[in-house]
Amino acid sequence: MTATQGYEVILRTLKSGGERVGDLDDTDRKPDPWESAMQATCECLSWRGSWDNLERRHTEDELGETIYDQFPVHSRSAITTAHTFLDRGIVSQDELQEKMTQIRARLERS
């Protein structure tokens, strides 16, 4: 069951992640390494029985064309996984936000 509106912690990522302005503009974009890591995360979730890949694909289509339709297509796995974790109560918004803050600080440390 998916929520009818987006979670604030996810919607905030759009600011620096880049808004979806039209798929054809994406032809100039080179995939980022994090996308492969995200794919592996999704595969591990399916492999270990938490979230079937095909079910995720359907959720990506559903959320990507509705409440998160302003997000770029390449971000769908990440936002759909985040949304589903929140929906299922696996993590809370505060927990996800805190983890993101910690990670950003870690990555920015030289």
């Binding site: 032809t27 595969e43 399916s46």
Partner: protein, 224 residues
């Protein structure tokens, strides 16, 4: 001349999506949904797959007309005969989501080539990781607009009466080219044929040749 050993500069900007990906992965690990070792093993395995499954399918199709028919009619089903189940991705450790898989047959009149204009969709279960150039905007953008020009850059030239068909992969559909069996391979076994069905011939930017096996380093005396 630039120094090839200069240090790699750290990216100036860390994207929110990059942060989100790492956060989700670490939280999933903390919650016990999978382990860090699972993630590392899967990534390592996925990146090590080569094009041998695709080569196997083409070689089998060249020698078995009934398999060829099945492969062209329903690539997803026929793949199972060589051990690839597209509908059960992690069941076979396939690093791809569920998609429809189509095999495109080259003929003397039609040459097929694959691309993904939007991102980097590629038939990974059968061809492994895509080559760097496949993911470049240069290839993706130009292949759909000027395919003959791009193919010529790979050394591939076709007369004007050969139709070049470009197939744009997407989230749901993946393609692979079945090249024509080259001359000089009569009586070859499937194992021998597999070796000359290289990655590039199944993308469509090259043609197989009886004297070329991509597993060997090009030498001054070998190949064309």
């Amino acid at each position: 001349m630039s120094d090839p050993h200069k240090p790699i500069q750290a990216s100036e900007e860390i994207s929110e999506f990059e942060v989100l990906e790492l956060a989700l992965r670490e939280l999933a690990i903390e919650k016990g949904l999978f382990s860090a070792e699972d993630h590392r093993r899967f990534s390592e395995w996925a990146e090590s797959i080569g094009p041998s499954n695709g080569s196997k399918m083409v070689a089998k199709a060249w020698t078995d007309p009934e398999f060829k028919k099945r492969l062209l009619e329903n690539g997803t089903e026929a793949s199972k005969e060589v051990g690839i189940d597209w509908t059960d991705p992690t069941g076979t450790g396939t690093p791809s989501d569920y998609t429809f898989f189509y095999v495109l047959e080259n003929t003397p009149q039609v040459h097929n080539v694959i691309v993904c204009t939007l991102c980097s969709c590629y038939p990974r279960p059968v061809l492994g990781m895509s080559p760097d150039w496949y993911r470049t905007p240069n290839y993706r953008r130009r292949m759909v607009r000027r395919p003959r020009e791009v193919l010529a850059e790979f050394g591939l030239h076709f007369p004007s009466d050969v139709e070049v068909r470009v197939h744009d992969s997407n989230q749901k559909s993946r393609f692979m080219v079945m090249p024509m069996r080259p001359e000089g391979t009569d009586g070859w076994t499937e194992e021998q044929l597999e070796k000359i069905v290289t990655r590039d011939t199944m993308i469509g930017v090259a043609l197989p040749s009886a004297d070329w096996d991509a597993s060997k380093a090009p030498s001054a005396g070998g190949g064309k």
